[in-house]
Subunit: 443 residues, 2 copies
């Protein structure tokens, strides 16, 4: 069947495209897995792409390192790859903000579609890149940026498009999920982190993971696609897992909850809640059972109802699976001469709601003096702020000091933060040891 000439400006083909030539930026674990798949399963990829994929050029740090790529195609200069006339598509796997961001802009400016796994650049600069891509009529895809090997962004954008998404709750950082799984078994945060580092789940500087920077980046991307909101990570409330104590996981379990670092987005009044923080989930919620380094996203659509996707959120092969999915999409479009669709994220104009407006139950653990009147003071503070008390646990005091664990009813974040401040200031309170938000099952 004759095809109309390709309309993608970066392509020098006219008529039927037979080969799509890839410029690979970065050949680390993921890049090597992508190159290997292209070399060894050309038939599978060609069937999906309607074209032959070819790694035409690759930018690497050390050209002497063996990667199964012929040396005349390898350079240390990524800009050379982006600018090369014989490169149709740029696959950016360098990670980090620069030079990745500049290289992607350069590629799009030159009319070349970009596939990337770079959550940092997409979360902070996605809107700008999408605008540029729309102007240039090229595709920008980043399935690998969130949830590794789990098909997620494309199903959200395409297959659930008829839905009004009501809620999204996700475990999208495998490192912290591994750490929390260990802490649920009694480990301290430090021990769990050390184990995660030993296994290669956590980096030497674990800040991006344990301070929820990585999860907030990914949530910004999800929120844009799922709710059509133009948000960047700076609008997302973020609290990490460093301060967590295994004793709170144990108390939570006693009350029927599991603790997860959750990325949460929810349609609220006049806007969208978007936040990442440790949260107690009912133990029978499907997300509560996602343990170890796995990722999962639980959605609630007004038509589809609850839907969950789970799988491996990281790893060379799993991430390569997502990069290759995007590549086959792009290659198919080039091969068939399909017009490029305009980008969709961020069209509703809804704001991200301030964290103070968010309503949730809270778990509080206070260390108090074992003297009469303590409870009266605590309940007085909560009552003044209109916060209902759902349950209380108090253990036998040890050497004149007692742990009091409170579970509140849903209240505004602003009120709960104020309660935390006032409870800490009570003469009988030694310290507020923990405040952990609680997510309920709604489906």
């Amino acid at each position: 069947m004759a095809r109309p000439p390709s309309r993608a400006r970066g392509l020098r083909y006219s008529g039927t495209v037979k080969a799509v030539r890839i410029g690979l930026l970065g050949v680390g674990t993921v890049g090597a897995a992508v190159a290997k798949a292209i070399a060894t399963r050309g038939d599978v990829l060609a069937r999906a792409s309607r074209a032959t994929l070819v790694v035409q050029r690759a930018a690497v740090r050390d050209p002497a390192k063996e990667r199964g790529l012929s040396l005349d195609r390898v350079t240390t200069d990524p800009l050379e790859v982006v600018r090369a006339d014989d490169v149709d598509v740029v696959v950016e796997l360098l990670g980090g903000e620069e030079p990745a961001f500049g290289l992607m802009k350069e590629a799009i400016e030159r009319g070349k579609p970009v596939v990337t796994a770079n959550k940092r650049v997409v979360s902070w600069h996605g809107p700008e890149l999408h605008d540029l891509a729309a102007r240039k009529g090229v595709e920008l895809r980043y399935e690998a940026a969130v949830g590794g090997g789990i098909p997620l962004l494309a199903p959200l954008a395409d297959d659930l498009a008829a839905n009004r998404l009501l809620e999204l709750r996700a475990i999208i950082n495998g490192t912290t999920n591994y750490i929390l799984t260990q802490m649920a078994g009694g480990s301290s945060f430090q021990d769990a982190l050390a184990r995660a580092q030993k296994l290669g789940y956590a980096e030497a500087d674990p800040s991006d993971d344990v301070d929820a920077v990585d999860a907030a980046d990914k949530l910004a991307i999800l929120v844009r696609i799922a709710f059509g909101v133009s948000c960047t990570p700076k609008e997302i409330f973020r609290e990490g897992v460093r301060a967590l104590d295994p004793i709170d996981l144990a108390y939570g379990r006693e009350m029927g909850y599991a603790l997860k670092l959750l990325a949460i987005a929810r349609r609220g009044e006049g806007g969208i809640e978007a936040r990442v923080h440790p949260a107690f989930l009912p133990a029978d919620h499907p997300l509560a059972r996602v343990d170890g380094a796995r990722n999962a996203v639980h959605l609630l659509g007004d038509l589809c109802g609850p839907v969950m996707f789970s799988g491996l959120g990281a790893g060379g092969d799993a991430t390569a699976s997502a990069v290759l999915a995007d590549l086959t999409h792009v290659a198919r479009r080039l091969a068939l001469g399909d017009p490029v669709e305009p980008p969709r994220p961020g069209h509703t104009g809804l704001p991200v709601l301030p964290m103070d407006e968010v309503r949730a139950r809270s778990y509080l653990r206070l260390s108090v003096d074992d003297v009469p009147g303590v409870f009266a003071q605590i309940t007085h503070v909560l009552a003044e702020l209109g916060i209902g008390l759902a349950s209380v646990i108090q253990r036998e005091p040890v050497s004149g000091q007692a742990d009091v664990v409170l579970m509140t009813y849903a209240a505004r974040e602003a009120a709960l933060r104020e309660a935390q401040r006032r409870l800490a200031a009570l003469p009988t309170t030694r310290s507020v040891r923990a405040r952990i938000r609680v997510e309920e099952s709604r489906t």
Copy 2:
């Protein structure tokens, strides 16, 4: 941006398509939900479709029934809808084999894309419809035919396209999953079925569900897409849940297993295993925790690793969500003038393996006389057939009769069936009460 003229033959538009006119066949629960969504969320659908969706004509059983559709667009003759010049896309929601199959053929012959939720027609006649659709250059989509509101077929075909799928295990019949969840709580099959019927999960004649006809239909569709195998339900081994006894669910739980009606497909030597039957799964497998009427599909790809999708497998709104996803795909293609992709299912030429070749562990429960030598006879039969014995449970006999529960190591189906026959023929065996295949966690 100017668009090239549409190349879909059923379209009378040239240049930019502004409205895509739908012919709806069948306005039951799903059809009504589709029509309602089109009427009430035109903005959302238009954004996803790049076109306005319009229910141009609808075929119904009873035109007097209120459906929110204007009466001049409603007819009792579905052929009239299919043939109407002002219908661009046919949405078939009649269900059942005929007249649905003939109507879909007629639509495709006339160059009209077809969206359907009809698992029966797609499972048995999908290859023929796809061939016809390829010749006519139109799309055939059926996301709603498997897994209701769970995005499944599109992610499998598109987003996991780079993978060699190794294994697929699925709970794709909500009725039987509800029944087995009840039986895990001690209900008899008959009581559980009656409850399912009362709740509307099971029909008055429940044969399609409880005899695994429905699940085999769906598995045939999944196998074609996931493994590229040309198979119809007649090649799929099928065993239902009628004969199950809650005592076997209790024994299984004691051994660490949950019982599910599983649809299983696996890459084997020289072909693909494809079968539907009750199976014990390790209790910590993610599928073991999918209870009630929910559906879930667990995949293992050689790159992506284990991936699971779960959600509502039925219901008007959930099914409408999938129908609308297909409709937006088709409408976008028409609106943007994208060429139609050739159908992909069934390209590898791999055969479906005969059930006799399948290897699995088996659970066996025998009712035997409580006399010396029983065990020796049983183990002799298994040893003769080369079947290893993994574990045995025997309870205190009651009135001279005892239950013996055996768990074998993996063996060929043919050998296990022969073992069942020989064990039943032993003089000390009163009956072989159950044989249930066991699926292991491999990931």
